[in-house]
């Protein structure tokens, strides 16, 4: 009981402290903003790195997320936690990048027609060059299983992918995921269920 009270007190203290930091940052205090960033930047980078699968885009998403937070912090009204708010920005930025990549993929797919453009790289080669598992540091780790999972993740819809990413890889609770999505815990549950069903269907097929 004492431990619970202590943890609760700690959380209250942290949330008060964060409120103060946000208020300072809203008044243009750069150091306060940097402290806020430091509290959450690992999580945001992990999200971006896994969603996008490569360093360059992860770095771009990281930067875009915090710059958007910096620019719109004045409009933050404490209606959600800063963590939820910044995660919401990060997920939107990540999804934008995935959408852009999808457009690019379609263009490459069209242009890499081997009959008309024999010199251009095939889509699978282009993507392979940018995926996480093309990173030599990661080759040592369960490459095959990891690759299959990455392939399976591509079969998910945008929202299924997002919910699965946030719950499975980032470890967020479904309640918070609902908030991040601007939706409910029930909706997040449904997306998680559908995502796991699809993944199972894909992974048991191979």
């Amino acid at each position: 009981m004492e431990a619970i009270l202590k943890r609760t007190a700690q959380r209250v203290h942290e949330s008060d402290d964060e409120k103060l930091l946000i208020e300072h940052a809203q008044n243009g205090d750069r150091e306060a903003f940097e402290q806020l960033v430091r509290r959450h930047d690992r999580d945001i980078l992990r999200l971006a790195f896994h969603m996008l699968g490569n360093r360059e885009e992860a770095r771009e998403v990281f930067q875009e997320t915090f710059l958007k937070a910096y620019r719109s912090l004045g409009r933050f009204r404490f209606e959600s936690s800063f963590y939820t708010w910044v995660y919401r920005i990060a997920t939107n930025v990540s999804l934008d990048h995935l959408r852009k990549r999808q457009t690019l993929k379609e263009e490459i797919s069209y242009e890499s027609d081997t009959e008309t453009h024999p010199d251009r790289p095939a889509l699978k080669d282009t993507l392979a060059a940018t995926t996480y598992y093309s990173n030599p540091e990661r080759r040592l780790y369960g490459k095959e299983v990891g690759e299959k999972i990455q392939e399976a993740l591509k079969t998910l819809s945008e929202k299924e992918r997002l919910v699965f990413e946030l719950r499975h890889y980032q470890g967020l609770r479904l309640k918070m995921i609902g908030e991040i999505m601007g939706s409910t815990e029930e909706t997040a549950k449904n997306y998680l269920f559908r995502a796991t069903q699809k993944l199972r269907a894909y992974l048991t097929k191979i």
């Binding site: 930047d41 980078l45 992860a58 930067q63 369960g142 299983v145 998680l192 993944l199 199972r200």
Partner: protein, 309 residues
């Protein structure tokens, strides 16, 4: 609840997202129903495979975090520099085109003089405040103006826009644990125009590289600082942590990329001292330094490879 409903709940059970009552109900049902139990076992197997994959993703490369933070800080610096450029509203004097440049130059000089005079007040209280200074709001009394430029000067309306930068003196005392002191030291590390200040900052931070933020700041200095002296001091401070994975990654990066052979030698020494029997490290070192143009470095690594094997 039907079996289908129960099977829907299995995913949530594995993610520990069920309420206590539903969890107990589901677990009881799983004990009694072979079909649902089979579905549960199958889902559990997949869940464990996926969990293993998630564990691999838990750590992000530390150099990526350092790079990302650095890039963000640079971008914020750039934005703030833009913001700190102040704009001075018009003076109610109509300039003729012929006198325009001369007048603008005089105003600029007046501003600078005003700030100078303001700074001298404590020493020479008898000097009257410069009237031009009094007309301008938003300029700190002890600020120093630099990079003054004429943004716009309209001869018809007499509207003049000036832009420049203001810096104010700062003095702060505190302990290393003090957040403000640490933030200031980190800012000093980012001061691109002042290698001396960066070196000092590294030296001060090196006195206590016992927490994550300081370690990261030192890694940042080692990997990105353009000044070899700063990088050398950073590697010296970090060498006792060469057994830690992220410090090791930074040292490997240094070995492959740093142009200063002395720093590369330091990196090898630190890695070898902390990981003397690590065959994998020996192989990585061999690969990274294979093309090193410094024969001493190559021979050192070969010696280490021999010892490690």
């Amino acid at each position: 609840m039907s079996c289908k409903d129960y099977q829907h709940q299995i995913t949530l059970l594995l993610y520990d997202e069920l309420s206590e009552s539903i969890r107990v109900e589901l677990e009881t049902h799983l004990q009694d129903c072979p079909n649902c139990h089979e579905a549960y076992e199958s889902e559990k197997t997949m869940h464990s495979v996926l969990a293993e994959d998630a564990a691999r993703w838990h750590d992000i490369p530390s150099d990526l975090l350092v790079e990302s933070r650095r890039a963000l800080a640079d971008e914020l610096d750039r934005i703030e520099r833009k913001r700190s450029w102040w704009r001075v509203p018009a003076f109610s004097v109509v300039f003729t085109p012929m006198r325009l440049l001369e007048s603008v130059a005089l105003i600029a000089m007046g501003l600078a003089l005003g700030v100078y005079v303001s700074n001298q007040r404590q020493v020479s209280p008898q000097i009257a405040p410069n009237p031009t200074q009094e007309q301008i709001s938003g300029i700190p009394r002890n600020g120093t103006i630099s990079n003054l430029q004429i943004v716009n000067a309209d001869p018809i309306t007499g509207q003049v826009e000036l832009a420049g930068e203001i810096s104010q003196p700062l003095r702060f005392q505190g302990k290393m644990e003090d957040d403000t002191i640490r933030s200031l030291l980190f800012s000093a590390l980012r001061d691109a125009n002042n290698p001396g200040s960066r070196l000092k900052a590294v030296e001060v931070l090196a006195q206590k590289p016992t927490d994550e933020m300081i370690e990261e700041a030192l890694i940042n200095a080692l990997v990105y600082d353009g000044d070899a002296g700063v990088r050398m001091r950073a590697i010296e401070a970090l060498q006792k942590f060469a057994g830690e994975q992220h410090v090791r990654a930074a040292f490997m990066h240094t070995l492959g990329n740093d142009t200063d052979a002395g720093i590369r030698v330091k990196a090898i020494d630190a890695l070898m001292a902390r990981n003397s029997r690590d065959v994998e490290l020996a192989k990585s070192l061999e690969a990274v330094t294979k093309k090193d143009d410094n024969p001493y470095i190559r021979s050192k690594v070969l010696e280490f490879v021999g010892t490690a094997k």
